[in-house]
């Protein structure tokens, strides 16, 4: 029986290959869309809900006065505030693989606000003690082969200064490996090189309790409402997703595309299977005459379609994983969000299940009709 299924699959190799290819492309697209949706999904980000980001109300392009730091610390329910300033320097050259996030910060408050960053106490102490030092994420350090004590040179592009930094610690983030693709150094060192302009990119606030977050956001915005540099305060999740929301309702869009793709692939596969089954009308009647029951016939035809589904699904998932890996590498320098772009097992399983479902249904529908068809009717086609 297995032999019959296998040989029938290879009976028309071109048709089988094209059907598998259509399924492969459909599943690949579904997986890519699913992975993108996960990347953009607030619930899927590792962003903390009790961290609040305060930035310039107009745009991230504009810095805030350093003086806001202490005033924000004075807000009720705010435990600690840490400044982050984007440096955006060139490491080695302008090639994308050498791009990574570089932030000037206050080490002590940073480690308090981002308590999910794990670093050895000795390394943290060494970083705190030396103004020219920096810490790097484990993934980034591995990528560039950095060891403790190594020096890196960052050529300023936004700012008219260059930084020469020495690595004193490597941090990890078990919750979100994407966070390991950045470096933090002393903002004081950067400020000093710039002539102490007293500017900060963003302030990160740690709120004592989740339920106090709305009040802190409201208070922070109110505090600077009539100042020269008004602020926008939002949760870390909202901050991360602000980039994505600029693209519109991606969930609806991607969902609609994914649904349309799967439905189209189902019709293509079902039509191909129906054609393949119709062509074998007489053969199936012969099988029944030999003693094959309806269950056997249905089993053979469905098994063929399921094999096509499984092969198409596996190829689609593999292709999607490869594509996403390449895209993550190529696009993460454009948008940090893409650092987390990967094919997770639940999306891969969804793709495989869709392919298997399409295959099974495509075989079941014509198979059931053929299994119930009169033997005489099938034999009459030849006689």
């Amino acid at each position: 029986m297995r032999k019959l299924v296998w040989r029938n699959l290879l009976r028309n190799k071109r048709r089988a290959a094209l059907t598998v290819a259509s399924l492969t492309l459909g599943v690949m697209l579904l997986c890519v869309l699913g992975a993108l949706l996960q990347t953009f999904d607030p619930a899927e980000t590792e962003a903390s809900e009790n961290r609040v980001v305060v930035r310039h109300a107009v745009s991230l392009q504009f810095d805030l006065p350093e003086a806001y730091w202490r005033r924000l610390e004075s807000l009720d329910h705010v435990e600690v505030v840490s400044p982050l300033s984007w440096f955006g320097g060139i490491y080695k050259d302008t090639r994308r693989e050498n791009f990574f996030s570089q932030f000037g910060t206050d080490p002590e408050t940073l480690l308090a606000v981002f308590d999910d960053l794990e670093i050895e106490p000795e390394a943290a102490a060494a970083w705190l003690a030396e103004r020219r030092s920096f810490v790097a994420g484990r993934a980034l350090a591995r990528k560039h082969g950095w060891e403790i004590g190594d020096e890196i040179f960052l050529q300023g592009e936004i700012y008219p200064i260059d930084l020469n930094l020495v690595l004193r610690g490597i941090f990890t983030d078990s919750q979100d490996e994407a966070q390991e693709n950045q470096v933090f150094f002393h903002r004081d060192y950067m400020e000093e090189a710039l002539g102490n302009p007293g500017q900060v990119g963003t302030f990160w606030l740690l709120v004592d309790d989740l339920e106090n977050v709305p009040a802190v956001i409201e208070a922070a915005e109110a505090m600077f409402e009539n100042s020269e540099a008004r602020v926008k305060a939002e949760t870390e999740q909202a901050f991360v997703l602000a980039f994505v929301q600029m693209m519109g309702n991606v969930e609806l869009l991607f969902g609609a595309i994914g649904f349309a793709v799967i439905v189209s692939v189902f019709f293509i596969t079902a039509n191909t299977m129906a054609m393949a089954v119709r062509e074998r009308n007489t053969e199936i009647s012969v099988l029944k005459t030999l003693g094959f029951g309806r269950g056997h016939v249905l089993g053979v035809l469905t098994a063929e379609a399921m094999v096509i589904g499984i092969v198409g699904g596996l190829l689609g998932v593999t292709l999607a994983a490869t594509l996403l890996h390449l895209a993550a590498g190529a696009l993460s320098s454009e948008l940090l969000l893409f650092q987390t772009l990967t094919l997770r097992s639940d999306v891969a399983l969804l793709g495989l299940a869709a392919a298997l479902g399409i295959g099974t249904l495509s075989g079941l529908v014509p198979g059931y009709a053929m299994a119930r068809r009169s033997v005489v009717e099938g034999l009459r086609k030849v006689a």
Binding site: L4, E283, V286, T289, L290, F292, V375, V376, A383
Partner: protein, 245 residues
């Protein structure tokens, strides 16, 4: 005469509804004894193939009973009929109807895959019947690599490999040249003589019918005679309807 393995009792077969009613078989009665070789002749549309299909239980009579190997097939539902056919019916088609993606060996083995035989037992049976039909040297060939006569011999091997109670052949030589047809007919004769197979063969060809022991003429839904004249296609066929009971 041994006990009948096929018993047709008052069988009628009508196609179509009230407006377009075609009675293909009309109150037919027939008995075929075990080990018999029957040639069923008649003009096109006379109901020969319909009768064969009723015996094979791939079709059901409108009225009457078809009893094969002691079983009234109208009493069996579709799921019971499939294993019953596997056990009792061997069917040979005019156009061979081999499965093109399987080799000669695999085509013959196909019905045995439904049984609980071990692969060694299956192999032994397939090789035996391939030897009987003189195709051992062609067992690995696909149908497209065989001549018409060879294909029909594979089809015969497939039909007999399960050792069925009745062998039904629908124009088995209808698509063959004279030499191949003669080879196939001799093979069927041998199956009947040496292996005591009960054979019912539909044919248009009087020369083919001569290989049978008994000749039946079917016309306008009725079984007419049981004589050598019927096999020769002469006027004797148009005598009185023959009750075979």
């Amino acid at each position: 005469m041994s006990d009948p393995v096929v018993r047709i009792q008052d069988v009628s077969k009508v196609y179509g509804g009230d407006r377009l009613r075609v009675e293909v078989l009309s109150e037919m009665n027939l008995e075929v004894a075990g080990g018999d070789f029957v040639a069923l002749m008649g003009p096109s549309g006379s109901g020969k193939t319909t009768l064969l299909n009723l015996i094979a239980a791939v079709d059901r009579p409108t009225s009457g009973r078809v009893i094969v190997a002691g079983q009234d097939t109208s009493q069996l539902n579709e799921s019971a009929l499939a294993p019953w056919r596997h056990r009792h019916i061997g069917y040979i088609f005019q156009l061979y109807n081999l499965i093109p993606v399987l080799t000669a060996y695999e085509n013959v083995e196909l019905p045995l895959t439904l049984s609980r035989l071990s692969s060694a037992d299956r192999r032994a049976k397939v090789e035996t019947v391939l030897e009987v039909v003189s195709l051992t040297d062609r067992k690995d060939h696909y149908p497209r690599e065989l001549s018409g006569g060879q294909e029909q011999r594979v089809a015969i091997a497939r039909a007999v490999v399960t050792d069925p109670t009745v062998l039904l052949a629908d124009e088995p030589t209808g698509d063959l040249d004279a030499e191949s047809a003669e080879g196939v007919l001799r093979l069927m004769e041998r199956l009947n003589d040496e292996f005591d197979k009960t054979i019912i063969m539909v044919t248009h060809d009087p020369r083919a019918a001569r290989h049978a022991h008994r000749f039946l003429h079917l016309d306008k839904g009725k079984l007419w005679s049981d004589s050598e004249e019927a096999a020769m296609g002469v006027d004797g066929a148009a005598s009185s309807p023959a009750s075979e009971e």
